[in-house]
Point group: C2
Chain length 113, copies 2
DNA sequence: AGAATTTATAGAGGGATGTCAATATAGATA
DNA sequence: TATCTATATTGACATCCCTCTATAAATTCT
């Protein structure tokens, strides 16, 4: 089952206790965001005008080796936060806005009236 | 600086690229949520009527040793997602709703018009 | 085809992390 | 004070993870 599907059918954390199965799946997404480099990559991609960013631009934003960035991109792609597309020599990464949106909804806490 | 303060003064990920300093701080919170047991603990506490949960109730929800649960509670407390209060023999944990709320806001993506 | 460029994969090393058993601490009760 | 219960801390161990170098794969350009 795709992680995005699990996200879509998971009530907010504050609604009812998360079952073990969903927790196992959802924690993977948070774990992916639980690294400073990956969090910045997501932010770079998410905030970029046009919606897509070339790997070379991402690599240039860090003082890390190219394979390390490639590894982080793979992790983010595997949990469904990013997608990639190759065009000519370059690979472009895009945010999956629904994934981030569903995560946001998952964390949403009803206003303390 | 408290993590909650950093959360409060961080624009959404999709607004502008997150700087390295904030990313380092914020990734800690996501890392804390990046474990299935901790995610369930947060959900248990967040969804519990009355807003607080005794450690004994949390321990009873898992087939893990008491020290392991204690360790996870400590992690969640250190990143500012939970607080605790001792009353008599028992320790009660509460959600810090602002923390979860700010996290939710951080991930919020403007609707793709 | 050969060379150069861009990105991904493989493998290794060192540090972080989840778990447990054992023990300590705090509070209640006898 | 002694003892019992609830929770936290310590220390150990196995596993996971971030990073690197080396190399492969895909694409473009001579």
């Amino acid at each position: 089952m795709e992680l995005l599907e699990i996200l879509e059918c998971s009530p907010p954390l504050a609604r009812e206790p998360l079952d073990a199965e969903r927790a196992a799946a959802l924690s993977q997404v948070f774990k992916a965001l639980g690294d400073p480099v990956r969090l910045r990559i997501v932010s770079i991609v998410a905030s970029h005008a046009g919606g897509e960013v070339c790997v070379c631009d991402i690599t240039g934003a860090f003082e890390l080796s190219q394979p390390t960035i490639s590894h982080h991109l793979k992790v983010l792609k595997e949990v469904g936060l990013l997608t990639s597309e190759r065009r000519a020599s370059w690979v472009y990464y895009r945010l999956v806005p629904e994934a981030l949106g569903e995560l946001s909804a998952l964390l949403n806490v009803p206003a303390t009236a």
